[in-house]
């Protein structure tokens, strides 16, 4: 990418940004603009509101009452209970699987891309340019194009139908590496590393005790994006796993949804709806709690393009 502005210009505003505009430049509030944006917000919220309302309905009400109107009875708690206990509590199993894939997969991906991004940003070693070219090229490769060959390879290695089939591919995030690289260039001053070296600290100790602290906002950002992509992962587990007790939530939910069709159809719409709601909530909570981080990290990533 070409640099449209120099880092010196961009750096200071990247992190602290709110309230920087002087009042002279601050125009009055526009009702028209706010109104138009409210319309867009309504569009954004309709499916989610529908989901919340529908999770309070029994299956009969779901099929017979209007989508955005309440049902005849408030069945949220019985729906949740039924979702969690249906088929010996397989939903909880899927939930635990998802947590495992997310913690190990996204956690590992963050660790690997943080170390690698830092290494690329702060050391001038031979082959650095080659790494850059290969990883940037990898961003352009659609992961799903790799999925089928990866499946065949893993199948030969006996890895399909194991948790490793999901965890190992999740460990690599070229985009995370790119983000950390850009972030580390600016967040860790070279002088600080030199000072630590003069004090006699080894390179790994410097990384763990000095640099990692400075990289923290970028690390949280990469972790959040890795978290979303592993939590939402569907294609990979769909092809890698055929045992329902290894499924993550996404694949499990579609399986429940598919029960409504075909021979021997046994629809469980209320469980699909409630299960979907339970799948969304944790991620939304995490995003709300960690807003500060993903927003500042993203700014740093957008500085250099």
């Amino acid at each position: 990418m070409t640099a449209t502005m120099s880092p010196e210009q961009a750096q200071p505003v990247a992190v602290e940004s709110t309230g920087r505009r002087s009042s002279a430049l601050r125009p009055g509030k526009s009702r028209v603009l706010t109104g138009v944006m409210v319309l867009y917000v309504i569009y954004t919220l309709i499916p989610l509101v529908w989901l919340v309302i529908s999770a309070t309905k029994t299956q009969t009400d779901l099929l017979s009452t209007a989508g955005l109107a309440p049902g005849h009875s408030f069945a949220l708690f019985s729906n949740i209970k039924e979702t969690l206990t249906y088929r010996d509590g397989i939903f909880l199993r899927w939930f635990a699987n998802t947590l495992l894939y997310v913690v190990v997969g996204a956690g590992g991906a963050t660790l690997l891309s943080t170390a690698a991004g830092y290494g690329l940003a702060k050391y001038r070693f031979p082959g650095r340019r080659a790494v850059f070219a290969v990883v940037l090229g990898a961003i352009a490769i659609p992961p799903t194009a790799l999925a089928v060959p990866t499946f065949l390879m893993f199948s030969n290695m006996g890895l399909t139908n194991t948790v490793w089939a999901i965890i190992v591919p999740s460990l690599v995030s070229p985009f995370g590496l790119y983000l950390m690289w850009v972030y580390a260039e600016e967040a860790v001053p070279q002088e600080l590393l030199e000072a630590a070296r003069i004090d006699g600290a080894g390179e790994f100790r410097i990384f763990w005790t000095v640099s990692l602290r400075l990289l923290a906002p970028g690390v949280v950002t990469v972790l959040l994006f890795a978290l979303v992509s592993t939590w939402n992962n569907y294609f990979l587990p769909l092809i890698m796993l055929s045992k329902p007790n290894l499924y993550p939530l996404t694949v499990g939910l579609t399986q429940w949804s598919n029960q409504a069709h075909g021979a021997g159809a046994h629809p469980v719409y209320n469980l699909v709806v409630t299960g979907s709601l339970l799948t969304i909530v944790p991620l939304i909570v995490v995003f709300f709690l960690l807003q500060r981080f993903w927003q500042s990290g993203l700014s740093a990533g957008s500085v250099k393009q």
Binding site: T2, T4, M5, V41, P47, Y123, A140, T144, Y234, F235
Partner: protein
């Protein structure tokens, strides 16, 4: 191991410490080689062979599978469909994202933080759940489409052959406007304050500021967002594949190239041909992404 030897022989050019950089990068590269490079290599290998139907074993066919893909109507049907999807969906999505980012950045909205959060919200919704939700909403027996038809006497059929691609455009747009909005918004926050002050001194109005300062400052972010969106469009799989369960007669197994590759492998056991389709799609995607990047960079100079 060998890095120590290297370090000695290259001491003149690289200090020992710089070579330590490799040890930070090596773990990433090892996994990267396993899940990126090896499958690419394996796919290329597979694409050069063909399974023998009757005798078992495989024969080398060179580029035979590739010439088959290029003359395969089923492949092109899906490829043309994702191109059409891309041409319509990407501008709509990025246009909405840009408008939202500019509106939130303009300082003329009440409660801009609320708008930013709510518009970003769908990104945290798993794609699968988004499709299940919209799938229900599109339903004409129950769901919102049914309610609207009932209320207004219309005959909306979002999942009919005519409308299903539009319905998919809507789902993908709903999911990703917020993510792109955030990329644009973050880039806008890095525009130096003095530029706005200078523009105000020159008497530039709000619109003038948008077109002369903000949009040029966003060029890099727009190029990046376009590339990611193109890659995403070419990969279109989740949405049609899940909706297919609702309307198996409308969405066929080669609706998108990705679905085609998937169904060739898992429905037809045609692994070699499936790998070829995957490679061709990967190369096409990379070429288009590269062209967009070149154009974007050239315009920026």
């Amino acid at each position: 191991m060998s890095s120590a030897v290297q370090a000695v022989s290259h001491r003149r050019w690289w200090s020992n410490r710089d070579l330590r950089g490799w040890s930070f990068v090596a773990p990433f590269l090892a996994v990267f080689a396993l899940v990126f490079l090896a499958p690419i290599g394996y796919a290329i290998y597979l694409s050069l062979y063909r399974e023998q139907a009757f005798f078992g074993g495989k024969t080398f066919v060179g580029f035979g599978n590739y010439t088959d893909v290029f003359s395969d109507g089923k492949f092109w049907e899906g490829a043309v469909r994702v191109l059409l999807f891309l041409a319509v969906q990407v501008p709509i999505m990025l246009g909405l994202a840009l408008a939202a980012a500019l509106a939130i950045d303009s300082g003329r909205l009440r409660a801009p933080r609320v708008f930013r959060l709510v518009i970003f919200l769908p990104y945290a919704v798993p794609g699968v759940v988004a499709v299940l939700m919209w799938g229900y909403l599109y339903g004409t027996s129950f769901g919102l489409a049914a309610d609207i038809n009932h209320l207004l006497g219309t005959a909306l059929q979002p999942l009919s052959g005519r409308w299903v691609l539009t319905s998919i455009v809507n789902i993908v747009t709903w999911e990703f406007v917020g993510y792109n909005m955030l990329i644009f918004y973050s880039a806008l926050r890095t525009v130096p304050e003095d530029l706005y002050e200078a523009a105000a001194l020159d008497g530039a109005g709000a619109l003038r500021t948008v077109f002369s300062i903000k949009i040029p400052a966003l060029r890099g972010a727009i190029v990046i967002a376009t590339i990611f969106s193109i890659i995403g469009s070419f990969q279109l799989f989740n949405e049609p594949n899940i909706l297919r369960n609702l309307v198996p007669n409308v969405i066929n197994t080669n609706y998108t190239p990705n679905m085609y590759a998937y169904n060739l492998s898992f429905g037809g056991q045609q692994y070699n041909y499936s790998a070829t389709v995957a490679i061709v799609m990967g190369v096409l995607t990379a070429i288009i992404a590269y062209v967009v990047q070149l154009r974007g960079s050239r315009d920026a100079l």
